[in-house]
Symmetry: C2
Subunit: 144 residues, 2 copies
Amino acid sequence: MRRTAEDERIEERRRGPIPAEVDLAIEALVNDIIGKVADKWTMLILEALEEHGVLRFTQLGRAVGGISQKMLTQTVRQMERDGLVRRTVHPVIPPRVDYELTPLGASLGAAVCGVWIWAETHHAEIEQARRAFAAGRTVAEGVS
Amino acid sequence: MRRTAEDERIEERRRGPIPAEVDLAIEALVNDIIGKVADKWTMLILEALEEHGVLRFTQLGRAVGGISQKMLTQTVRQMERDGLVRRTVHPVIPPRVDYELTPLGASLGAAVCGVWIWAETHHAEIEQARRAFAAGRTVAEGVS
DNA sequence: CCGTATCCTCCGAGATACTG
DNA sequence: CAGTATCTCGGAGGATACGG
């Protein structure tokens, strides 16, 4: 996802700071949150931590699978910033850092879980729709 | 979203269709679906159609807000392909095309709605977490 | 082991112009 | 009006190397 949420807010401000637009401000924030949540790695990390509870850095990376260190750090930092995960540093040698979901993160996990379940429930329908679409889309759609 | 982890699994599947990996194949598909759903424009279009019911191309564009024709076409096509929206072409002049959610799309809308509600419910906590994070993790200084 | 810093690639996505 | 085609560009994100 590209940086678009900020742009929207900036745009909004540019268009006119109408006093009664507090709701819109919140809407923008919510939009921003959606943008964050709608990130692939965020969702996968959420799932990994939901399933395994507490994980160390590399463990988390392996649990997610196919993620670069950069993205792992970056995403997990963002999640920490948003209060979704708690990061615990153990000042020992070798270094050890534990990651786990906060209650807030867990609640998000529950919400996202709904989407996940939807995907698992309806993936067959989607596959079917894709095949139907690929088969022939020149099929006349009746104008009711 | 860049093509990364799924590609590997898809590749894996292409290289060798091992029977016992059907679960992994489905998991990959579900992952793919999540990736699709986790798209900003998809979610916004979903919301727009959920709220307005049936919309024409430009109406949909305006309802979403800040989307280019290209992305609108592209995203809506993908959604049509996945069976989430139905596209109805009226062979009249001037051309007219209607978009609306399929039952499948509506069910996804319901699931995503849960995440939306979560965002609306917890945005204050996230803001607070962000402030706390920005303030510094050393000492919890009261934010007046 | 846990990151941060750097480079580099590549594709998402906007703008524009054109067709049916 | 509804799309397609083409160009361009920013920046997301992978790979790598190094610091603590």
